[in-house]
């Protein structure tokens, strides 16, 4: 086993200073939820925004140089088109000539839309419908809650099928939800709430993961756990 082994605590003073500055900035940011807004928090916030902006500008400029400017200088004259279109975007900042910026935006939106229309229906509509209506293969377990059952394929299949029908009915607004449709739409609402609950639960899990990572970093800088 050689994967993911701990890294030794740095001995280089600059590297150590980097660790402690990062820790200071992290605690400064956390001082807002853990205490209240304060000048140290604002300093860290502004530092973060400035650093992120600086990195963003440099990285994007490098990308522009590599993909367009250098080829243009090497004789690929077609590269003048994307460079000019990119330049036109800055007319957003000039109120009277703002219309110029609409051309690159139109091309950007148009190309993305074209790609999406051509390629989205298969994974997002066709494959999803096929996946929903295809029953599990014969021989799989009925329900994972039964002891020894390897999968809950049939339960999942029925759950998704019923949930899909009920949730879709909930959004059919061309007729009043009364009579036999009413319990179906109520069930649809519960299915939607279940789905949103799962989304929210996963969101909380992600946020806790970020917080745990920062907690670990605190201990790592203090030398209490390996880097």
């Amino acid at each position: 086993m050689i994967g993911n082994i701990a890294v030794a605590y740095p001995t280089d003073p600059l590297a150590i200073a980097g660790l402690w500055i990062a820790l200071f900035l992290m605690l400064a940011i956390y001082s807002y939820p853990l205490w209240k807004e304060n000048p140290v928090y604002r300093f860290a916030e502004h530092t973060f925004i400035a650093a992120a902006l600086a990195i963003g500008i440099i990285v994007n400029l490098t990308s522009l140089m590599n993909t367009a400017v250098t080829p243009l200088m090497s004789g690929n004259l077609l590269m003048i088109i994307p460079i000019l279109l990119g330049f036109c975007m800055y007319f957003l900042l000039v109120p009277k000539q703002r219309w110029v910026s609409r051309y690159p935006i139109a091309i950007l939106v148009g190309s993305s839309l074209g790609l999406g229309i051509a390629s989205n229906p298969l994974p997002s509509i066709v494959n999803q419908i096929i996946s929903t209506v295809t029953p599990p293969k014969a021989g799989t377990a009925v329900w994972a809650m039964f002891p020894g059952a390897p999968t809950g394929d049939w339960f999942s299949f029925a759950f998704v099928a019923i949930g899909c029908l009920c949730a879709t009915t909930y959004f059919l607004l061309t007729y009043e939800h009364i009579g036999p449709v009413k319990p179906v739409t109520i069930a649809g609402r519960y299915f939607i709430m279940l789905a949103l609950g799962a989304y929210f639960g996963n969101t909380v899990l992600f946020r806790f993961s970020m917080l745990a990572e920062r907690g670990k970093y605190l201990l790592q800088v203090l030398g209490l756990v390996p880097l």
Binding site: G3, N4, Y199, N202, L205, F206, F208, S209, A212, L219
Partner: protein, 286 residues
């Protein structure tokens, strides 16, 4: 205030008190690991089964579309995946669709795998291209012409001069795309690579895509895993811990899972207590 009972007080506790308890509780398991058991979900198993099929010399793309802030969820899975690609004898192409801090993430992956990168030769076994802007059009172009987006790697070596890229200029010689996302860039690959007009040269099937995502997106990604558009799904620290268990490279995610489990227990207790106090005081307010 003097007439408040314990349930009233519980409902009026400053939220910062809970934040502090949570922050302290999250850090304790790092000092004293509990070692809670980790079960394997089918989506992580499918990912592992997929990357086990990589044969010597086959090329895999690692698309790092997650930033430093998502390291807790995404980094351990990427580290374990890169190690597995190395173990299988595969080759690796790394780039990013839209994350300007990708250099830091790639440096961290290399730092975490010194044994791998001391043996792998840059340019022959792996190549790192860095950042490209976050557009689906870029992914569509990468499918057919990698050199148009990346005329050179981050070292400044022309792509034509990189031995690994000698015969590769598109998706047809890529076996898998392992996409690590905080957003939906994996769907760019599903739409433009897997469902695009491209066939992998060995199997004449399109290169398939797997997601190494954040837990927040698991519900949405699961639909694409179940429909077969993603061959595997490793979601969040939990998924990464499962992958570490499968590959045998116990690392950051395994350690972090204890901390996250403690936080969840704490959160469930807080929800139960808050609900009890709400029901206990409901009559009083009337």
């Amino acid at each position: 205030m003097s007439g408040q009972n314990i349930w009233d007080k519980l409902q009026n506790v400053d939220r910062r008190v809970f934040y502090w308890i949570l922050f302290v509780a999250l850090t304790v398991p790092f000092l004293s690991p509990i070692g809670l058991p980790i079960t394997i979900t089918p989506s992580s198993q499918a990912f592992y089964d997929g990357i086990k099929t990589i044969e010597k010399g086959e090329v895999v793309v690692l698309s790092i579309n997650s930033g430093v802030s998502a390291w807790g969820d995404c980094l351990p899975a990427m580290v374990a995946s890169v190690h597995k690609v190395y173990d299988q004898g595969g080759k690796l192409i790394v780039w990013s669709i839209g994350y300007t801090d990708v250099d830091i993430t790639w440096a961290k992956i290399k730092e975490k795998l010194p044994d791998v990168f001391s043996k792998w030769k840059e340019g022959e076994d792996y190549v790192y291209f860095g950042y490209s802007p976050p557009q689906e059009t870029n992914v569509a172009l990468l499918r057919d012409n990698i050199r148009a987006i990346y005329p050179k790697d981050v070292r400044g070596v022309a792509t034509d001069q990189i031995p690994l890229m000698k015969d590769i200029n598109g998706a047809n010689k890529i076996k898998f795309v392992l996409s690590s996302d905080t957003g939906d860039a994996q769907m760019y690959y599903v739409r433009q690579w897997k469902n695009g007009p491209v066939n992998y040269e060995k199997t004449e099937k399109p290169p398939t895509v797997a997601e190494l995502g954040i837990a927040m997106n698991k519900s949405g990604d699961m639909a694409y895993f179940l429909s077969g558009d993603l061959f595997g799904l490793v979601a969040g620290s939990r998924g990464a811990a499962e992958l570490e268990a499968l590959t045998g490279y116990k690392g950051d995610a395994t350690i972090t899972m204890d901390s996250i489990s403690v936080s969840h227990i704490l959160l469930v207790l807080a929800i139960i207590l808050t609900n009890i106090s709400m029901f206990a005081t409901r009559g009083n307010k009337k």
